[in-house]
Amino acid sequence: MPIETAIEIRALKKIYQNGFIALDDINLEIKRGEIFALLGPNGAGKTTLINTVCGIVQPTGGHVTVSGFDNVTQYRQARAAIGLVPQELTTDAFESVWNTVTFSRGLFGKPRSPSYITDTLKRLTLWDKRDEEIRNLSGGMKRRVMIAKALSHEPEILFLDEPSAGVDVELRKSMWAQVRALRDTGVTIILTTHYIEEAQEMADRVGIINKGKLILTEDKQTLMQKMGKRQIIFVLRDHINSIPQTLAGLPLTLEDEGSKIIFTCDATLDNDISETLDRLKESGIRPKDIYSRESSLEEIFVGLVGAV
């Protein structure tokens, strides 16, 4: 029976030789089959965390288990479960796409499987480029080659470190679709990103890291409900100078020089707007338009990171 936890990180610490604390007592659990987005500003420790789990960076302290295997004492089983797409486009420029993907599969001790590699290249729309030297490919194609290399040994867990960096919008959306398709096949996906939109679009759970500390981990929907705000905006026919006394007690504010009344509520609360509408009418205020807006993950992220 498969272990439900894909990755377990306990008290992970990384202090570089110059004294810089890149990871400060990180505790994290990634569930099997989920898409986990790790958000954080530059230098927050996202890549160090990934590289430590993958065995590229030596931790100063703490433990990591991957699919139940310790990544130091049982590194073979632990690493075999992981596919890594690094942030940088580091490829063998003079190798063909086919050869470099075959090489990656071999490194992980998997027997040759032309049919699997063919299928992977086709899924990533790289089949037509299979004999092309990597140096001749576009940035987006190179990024796909990196993903193909990471998938070459059929990993259970895929790390995507800034997968959309330098990728145009169209390709980014196609990549998102491919990542979702991978998740549907049971692959656990951990991605770091600067694009909050990416996390909002794809992630099941979100972790926010800043200055080496994991500030929070939360289910994305729960996070947005807990920390997000929903606002109903009443666009007025006539400007007003202040909220009338008759509306006291309601969570209302004025915006745009008195042309809009904003009704703010927690996203978790089941607010009844009918009372507000009735009292607006009683106060002689007649909105000409009504619309709503919700906090984005980005606003929540900025609020959290800015507060630390």
Partner: protein
């Protein structure tokens, strides 16, 4: 043991060799042929025989060693330095490979290439000078051991170097002088006693001596001493590589 991982690294490195065949094989062969033309045929014909071996034939083992040493060091150092330089080393470090497996892959490929080049140089030499190999087994053993040992040294240099300049530094400033002064072109018995003693501190003396013995049954030091010295050198290089991977020196942050 991750045999497929070793095979992947080995094939990848050998693939690079065959992709750059001119640079990998033709170039060292050409420069060795030039040595034979100048030192073997042109100047060698006017030189006295050493230990009853014509000078042209005498220098063959030394020339093969010269090529094999420099090729082993440069192949292995470039093999591991290039992925460090491009960043693709992440794949090796994150793969389920042990230190021994990584070293076998890279050093094995570098040593194979050196042995191939050594054999090609040997065949080439046969066209220029009369050649006999008294002990083919020992000749092959010395060729393989030297290739492996100096490929290990090259691997260390490839990890130590933090730029292409440093990659060339040791081969140019250390390996080449040691090879030239290690009895490649002469017997150290021809030197004054003081310089003979100094020469014994040069590890290449033992390699050339043992290798030359396998050809002509004549060497500057005994066969046993040569074998022991190569083994000692191999152990030192292996220990350093073990330390590099244990500490992550220049590989892991």
């Amino acid at each position: 043991m991750n045999f497929r991982g070793i095979e992947a690294i080995y094939n990848f490195e050998m693939g690079r060799t065959f992709r750059t065949l001119g640079q990998s094989i033709a170039s060292p062969v050409l420069s060795t042929v030039l040595y034979f033309i100048v030192f073997g045929s042109a100047i060698g014909s006017r030189m006295e025989a050493i230990d009853d071996v014509p000078y042209g034939a005498f220098i063959v083992p030394g020339l093969i060693m010269l090529t094999v040493l420099s090729q082993s060091v440069s192949n292995a150092s470039f093999g591991i330095y290039f992925p460090r330089f491009t960043g693709t080393i992440y794949e090796i470090l994150s793969a389920p490979l042990s230190v021994v497996e990584v070293v076998i892959g890279y050093v094995g490929a570098a040593a194979t290439k050196s042995v191939i080049i050594g054999v090609i140089v040997l065949i080439t030499a046969a066209f220029f000078v009369p050649l006999r190999v008294a002990h083919p087994f020992w000749m092959l053993l010395f060729l393989i051991m030297t290739s492996v040992t100096f490929s290990l040294l090259g691997f260390i240099i490839g990890i130590w170097a933090d730029g292409f300049e440093k990659l060339q530094l040791i081969p140019l400033l250390v390996i080449t002088p040691l090879t030239f002064l290690g009895g490649s072109f002469y017997s150290i018995n021809l030197l004054p006693p003081f310089w003979q003693t100094i020469s014994l501190a040069n590890p290449v003396v033992y390699l050339v001596s043992g290798f030359r013995w396998s050809f002509y049954e004549r060497g500057d030091v005994s066969l046993t001493t040569s074998v022991v010295m190569i083994c000692v050198f191999t152990l030192i290089c292996s220990a350093i590589i073990g330390w590099i991977f244990k500490t992550g020196y220049r590989l892991k942050k």
